[in-house]
C-alpha cells in the first residue's frame, strides 16, 4: 500500500491521501485523514467509501499546487491543501461531501480561482439550442453540467440524485411542466437554488420568478458572464445554513459541547439564549435541533439531530399559532404537536432558531441582548457587538431594521403608525397594536416568551399562510409588512437594502408561503396605485419599501425547514452515492454529465460521485487522455460502456465522433432515427438543408420586405400594447471588427490536417 504517514493536521486542512488502488487503502487513509482532521463524522465518509467499490482507484493527481477548495456542503470533489504539504507524487482523493461544512465557509471565503469550478449544475430547457449553448458555457466555466429537456425528467433526476447538484437552471416556459412549478418542487423537496431563464424580460415575469422563490432570473440570451456568477447563490445559501448548523456535531467547538450538555441551554428563555449567543465569539449560531429524536435525554455529549421536516415544522407552527403568541411555550407546543419522540428541548431549540430568523424579532432580541451585555447601542456598534450568526444572518435582511431601530433606539409607535399610514394609506390603528407590542416587548425584557410573542406577531402571517390566507392573513400581514416598511423608509444612509435582494435565496423552502405573500402583496399593491411593481433589481431603492418588504418577507420564511434538509442532503449525498452506485436506475437517455475538474493535467480524471449508471449516457468523465485511462471509480462494471461511448468527449484529442454525438442528441429529445445520420453529417461539416433561394434574390426580397416588416411592426406597435420587451441586444456599434474566426473550425477535415 505504501501510504504515507499522515501528520497531525491543523483543523480545516486535509492531509494528502495516497490512493493506490484498492478501496481498502482509500478507506483507511481517508478515515485516518478525517480523524486527524478532527472531523467527527466518519460515518458518512465510510459509507461513501463503501459505495466506491469495484474500480481500482488509480492514482489521481488533481494538482500539485495549492489551494483546491474543500466544498464540503457543496459536495464537490476538491480538497484544500497547503502548498507545503504536497509533493508531486501525492495523490488526492476526491472525496464525498462531509456533513460538516465548517470549512466550507472559510474555504469559500477564500474565493480562489478554483472555487466555482466543479459546481454541479442542472440545466433544464426545452429549447435544444439554448441548452447546448448553456452547456458549453458551463463547461467553459468548469462546472459539471447536466442537461435536460424535460422538467419531469429533471425532477426525477433531482430526486434520485439528491445532493448531487448544487444549482438548477431552468427555463420558464416548458411544455411539460411550467418552470415555476419545477421551481416550487425543487424548492420544497430539495431546497436547491434555482435560477430561472427566459426571453421574457418584463417586470411581471421577473416578479413572478421571485415570488416563486427563484434565486435569480436570467434573461435570454444568457451570457457567459452571467453564468459565471451563479455560484454566489449556492455559496450564500450554504453559508447561511452553515451558520445555523455550525455548532452541531462540531468537535472543535468544545465550548459548545459543554454548553450543549447543559439542559438549561435548551430552554427557550431569552436569558439563556442570550448567554448562549453571547459567549462564543465564533460564527456559529445557537444550537438547535441537536437532539436525536429517539433519545429522551438531552444532556448528552453527543448531539444527535432532529429532522425538522416540512410536516413537522408545520405542526410546530400550527401549534404555536394555536397557543397564541404569549402562550407558545415549548412545553405546550410539544403537547400540541403530539409527536412521539420529540422532546421539549427539541421544540425549544427549534422555537429559538425559528424566532431568530424573523428579522424584526431578531432586532428586538438583539436589543435585548444589548441591554444585557450593557453595550451601548451604536448604530454600527450593534452590528459588531453581537457575535455570531445573528449578525451575519441578519446582515442582509435585518440590517436595515437594525440600523433603523438603532438610530431610533426604539420604535415609537406613533412614528411607525405615521410612516405606515403615509406609505400605505392604511389606517394606522392596526399598526398601533403591533407597535405597542413592540414597545411591550422591549419593555418586558424579563418575560420568558416576549420574543416569542413578538416574533409570532410577525411570523404569524407567514406561518399561517396556507390555512388562513382568507381571513387572518391580510391584517396581520399588513401590520408586519407595514412595520417593516416603516423601518425601511427611515434612515437615508441605509445602504443595506441592496443586500436584501440576494437573500432571496436563503429561505426558499416556504415557496408556498411566498406565493401567498406575494399574492397578498399584489393585492396590496393593486390598491396602492402609487406603488409600482419593480423588478427585483430595483429593490435596492429605498423608495420601494413595499417591494423591499417582499424580499425581506421572503427571508422571513422559517428556514429551519431548510436546515435539516440540507444536512440531510449532505448526509444523504454520502449515503446516496453508495446507493446510486449500486442501483442507479435511470433509464433516461436525456442526461449527460460533464465533470470538469481537471482540465490541464494529463492523467487527471475526476471521479464522479454520482456516476452509477447502466445507460451509457450517464456519468461522463471528462477525460483528457485516451479513453483507456478513464476510470470511473464508482461505477460497477459499466466502465467499458463508458469508455466507448462517452470518453471521446471533452478535451481529448479524439475528434467528435458520431457516437457520442448521438448521446448528445438525446438530451434534446430527438428520438428520430435519422438524428444519428444528421449528427454524422454535422460532424463532417456544415451541411445545410439546401438553400432556399439564391442569395441575391433573397437579399433583394428581404430588403424589399424589410420595409414591410418595419411597417408591420409599427402597426403592431400601435395597436398592440402587449409587445414584450425585446431581448437585450447589443447594438452594432459595439461590434468590433476583428479577426473573428481565429479559432473557428467548422469541419473535421481541418482537424485531420492540424492534428
Amino acid at each position: 500500500m505504501g501510504d504515507k504517514e499522515l501528520k497531525p493536521c491543523k483543523p480545516k486542512l486535509i492531509k494528502r491521501i495516497r490512493l493506490n488502488g484498492g478501496h481498502e487503502g482509500l478507506n483507511e487513509n481517508f478515515s485516518r485523514a478525517c480523524r486527524s482532521r478532527g472531523e467527527g463524522n466518519l460515518e458518512e465518509r465510510r459509507s461513501f467509501h463503501n459505495g466506491r467499490r469495484g474500480g481500482s482507484l488509480r492514482k489521481i493527481v488533481v494538482t500539485t499546487r495549492v489551494s483546491i477548495l474543500l466544498l464540503c456542503s457543496l459536495s464537490a470533489f476538491v480538497l484544500r491543501f497547503s502548498a507545503s504539504e504536497l509533493s508531486p507524487d501525492d495523490v488526492v482523493a476526491l472525496v464525498a461531501p462531509m456533513a460538516q461544512s465548517r470549512s466550507a465557509g472559510d474555504a469559500c471565503k477564500g474565493g480562489t480561482a478554483e472555487f466555482p469550478a466543479g459546481l454541479r449544475v442542472l440545466v433544464v430547457d426545452d429549447d435544444a439550442t439554448t441548452l447546448r449553448i448553456i452547456e458549453q458555457m458551463s463547461i467553459r466555466c468548469r462546472y459539471r453540467v447536466t442537461t435536460c429537456t424535460e422538467a419531469t425528467v429533471a425532477l426525477n433526476l433531482l430526486r434520485e440524485r439528491k445532493g448531487c447538484f448544487d444549482v438548477v437552471l431552468s427555463d420558464v416556459h416548458m411544455p411539460d411542466m411550467d418552470g415555476y412549478k419545477l421551481l416550487e418542487h425543487v424548492g420544497l423537496e430539495m431546497d436547491l437554488p434555482v435560477i430561472m431563464m427566459s426571453g421574457d424580460s418584463t417586470t411581471s415575469a421577473v416578479m413572478k420568478g421571485i415570488r416563486h422563490g427563484a434565486c435569480d432570473y436570467l434573461i435570454k440570451p444568457v451570457r457567459e458572464e452571467e453564468l459565471r456568477n451563479i455560484w454566489q447563490h449556492v455559496v450564500r445559501k450554504i453559508w447561511n445554513e452553515n451558520k445555523e448548523h455550525d455548532n452541531s456535531g462540531s468537535l472543535e467547538d468544545s465550548d459548545w459541547n459543554k454548553r450543549g450538555n447543559d439542559d438549561t441551554e435548551y430552554t427557550s428563555s431569552v436569558a439563556d439564549a442570550a448567554e448562549v449567543v453571547k459567549a462564543p465569539k465564533k460564527r456559529s449560531s445557537l444550537k438547535e435541533e441537536d437532539i436525536e429524536l429517539e433519545s429522551d435525554d438531552p444532556a448528552t455529549s453527543k448531539k444527535p439531530r432532529v429532522v425538522w421536516s416540512v410536516e413537522l415544522h408545520q405542526q410546530f407552527v400550527s401549534a404555536v399559532n394555536q397557543l397564541g403568541l404569549d402562550k407558545a411555550v415549548p412545553k405546550r407546543i410539544l403537547e400540541l404537536m403530539n409527536v412521539p419522540g420529540l422532546t421539549r428541548e427539541n421544540v425549544a431549540s427549534h422555537l429559538q432558531g425559528w424566532l431568530m430568523r424573523l428579522p424584526v424579532v431578531n432586532e428586538k432580541f438583539r436589543l435585548y441582548l444589548k441591554r444585557l451585555s450593557g453595550v451601548a447601542q451604536q448604530q454600527n456598534g450593534m452590528l459588531n457587538a453581537v457575535p455570531g450568526t445573528i449578525e451575519s444572518k441578519l446582515s442582509a435582511t435585518g440590517r436595515y431594521d437594525i440600523q433603523a431601530l438603532a438610530a431610533a433606539g426604539h420604535v415609537p409607535p406613533e412614528t411607525l403608525a405615521a410612516l405606515h399610514a403615509e406609505l400605505l394609506g392604511r389606517p394606522a390603528t392596526s399598526i398601533m397594536s403591533t407597535a405597542d407590542q413592540a414597545t411591550l416587548l422591549q419593555a418586558s425584557i424579563g418575560l420568558k416568551h416576549s420574543h416569542a410573542e413578538h416574533a409570532v406577531a410577525y411570523g404569524q402571517p407567514f406561518v399561517k399562510c396556507p390555512s388562513n390566507i382568507g381571513k387572518d392573513f391580510p391584517p396581520s400581514f399588513l401590520t408586519a409588512n407595514d412595520v417593516s416598511s416603516g423601518y425601511g423608509a427611515w434612515p437615508s444612509s441605509n445602504n443595506t437594502m441592496g443586500s436584501v435582494r440576494p437573500n432571496n435565496s436563503d429561505e426558499r423552502v416556504g415557496t408556498q408561503y411566498n406565493n401567498m405573500l406575494m399574492d397578498i402583496l399584489d393585492h396590496q399593491q393593486r390598491q396602492q396605485p402609487q406603488q409600482k411593481q419593480q423588478q427585483h433589481q430595483q429593490l435596492k431603492q429605498q423608495q420601494q419599501p413595499l417591494v423591499h418588504d417582499q424580499s425581506c418577507s421572503i427571508n422571513v420564511q422559517p428556514s429551519c425547514l431548510v436546515i435539516p434538509s440540507q444536512s440531510c442532503d449532505t448526509l444523504q449525498a454520502v449515503n446516496g452515492s453508495a446507493s446510486v452506485n449500486q442501483n442507479c436506475s435511470f433509464g433516461m437517455n436525456a442526461i449527460i454529465d460533464y465533470s470538469l475538474l481537471s482540465q490541464k493535467s494529463n492523467n487527471s480524471v475526476s471521479a464522479s460521485q454520482f456516476s452509477g449508471g447502466d445507460t451509457k449516457t450517464q456519468a461522463v468523465l471528462y477525460a483528457h487522455t485516451t479513453p483507456s485511462t478513464c476510470s470511473m471509480s464508482s461505477i460497477n462494471g459499466s466502465i467499458p460502456q463508458l469508455q466507448n461511448s462517452t470518453l471521446t468527449f471533452g478535451g481529448a484529442r479524439p475528434l467528435f465522433s458520431p457516437l457520442p454525438m448521438s448521446d448528445r442528441q438525446d438530451p434534446y429529445g430527438l428520438k428520430s432515427g435519422d438524428s444519428l445520420d444528421q449528427v454524422c453529417l454535422r460532424n463532417i461539416g456544415f451541411i445545410g438543408k439546401g438553400t432556399c433561394i439564391p442569395n441575391r434574390f433573397v437579399q433583394n426580397e428581404i430588403e424589399s420586405s424589410v420595409s414591410d416588416f418595419s411597417q408591420m411592426k409599427v402597426n403592431v406597435d400601435s395597436t398592440g400594447n402587449t409587445l414584450k420587451e425585446e431581448p437585450n441586444f447589443i447594438n452594432m456599434q459595439k461590434v468590433s471588427r476583428r479577426p473573428i474566426f481565429g479559432r473557428y473550425q467548422s469541419c473535421d477535415h481541418s482537424s485531420v490536417f492540424t492534428e
Partner: protein, 157 residues
C-alpha cells in the same frame, strides 16, 4: 502565393460577418458563440447552428400548420412555439429573426390572424436568409480550413 487563398477566404469570411452584423441579421451573441468554440469543441458554432436550424424547421412547420387551420387557430400554442423560437434565435444571435418573433408574438396575443400571417411570412423569409448566409459563412470557413490545412499540415489552428 500559397498563403494567399487562405487569407482571401478569411477576408471573405470577415467581410460577410461584418455585413451580417451591419444588417442586423446577427448580433453580439453570435460572437459569444464563436468565443465558446475552442480546441475542446472545435465545431461548436456549426453544431449549435445545426441544432438551431433543425429545431426551427420544426417550429416553423408547426406555426404554419397552426395558422393554416380552417377553424380557430390556436394562438396560445403559437405563442408557445414562438417563445421557443425567440429563445433559440436570440441564443444564437439571430437578431432579425428574433425581432420578427416578437412582433409575431404580439399578433398572436391579439389573435390577429392577418398580422400573424404577415409575420409568419416575414419570419420564413428572414429565416431563409439567415440560413443562406450562415451556410455561406460555414462554406467559406471550410474552404479556408482546407486551404490552410493543405499547406500547413502541422499548423495548429
Amino acid at each position: 502565393m500559397l498563403g494567399f487563398g487562405a487569407d482571401l477566404l478569411w477576408a471573405d469570411m470577415n467581410r460577410l460577418l461584418a455585413f451580417l452584423f451591419h444588417q442586423g441579421v446577427l448580433d453580439e451573441q453570435f460572437l459569444q458563440l464563436q468565443q465558446l468554440q475552442d480546441e475542446a469543441s472545435p465545431n461548436f458554432v456549426s453544431e449549435v447552428v445545426n441544432i438551431y436550424f433543425h429545431e426551427s424547421e420544426k417550429l416553423l412547420n408547426n406555426l404554419r400548420g397552426l395558422l393554416m387551420e380552417r377553424e380557430l387557430s390556436d394562438y396560445k400554442k403559437m405563442g408557445i412555439h414562438l417563445n421557443q423560437f425567440m429563445g433559440s434565435s436570440s441564443s444564437i444571435g439571430a437578431k432579425r429573426v428574433t425581432n420578427i418573433c416578437v412582433a409575431f408574438r404580439a399578433a398572436t396575443d391579439q389573435s390577429n390572424r392577418a398580422g400573424c400571417l404577415r409575420a409568419l411570412e416575414m419570419l420564413e423569409h428572414e429565416y431563409c436568409y439567415l440560413k443562406n448566409k450562415l451556410h455561406e459563412l460555414f462554406q467559406i470557413e471550410q474552404q479556408r480550413a482546407l486551404v490552410a490545412g493543405v499547406r500547413y499540415p502541422v499548423q495548429n489552428q
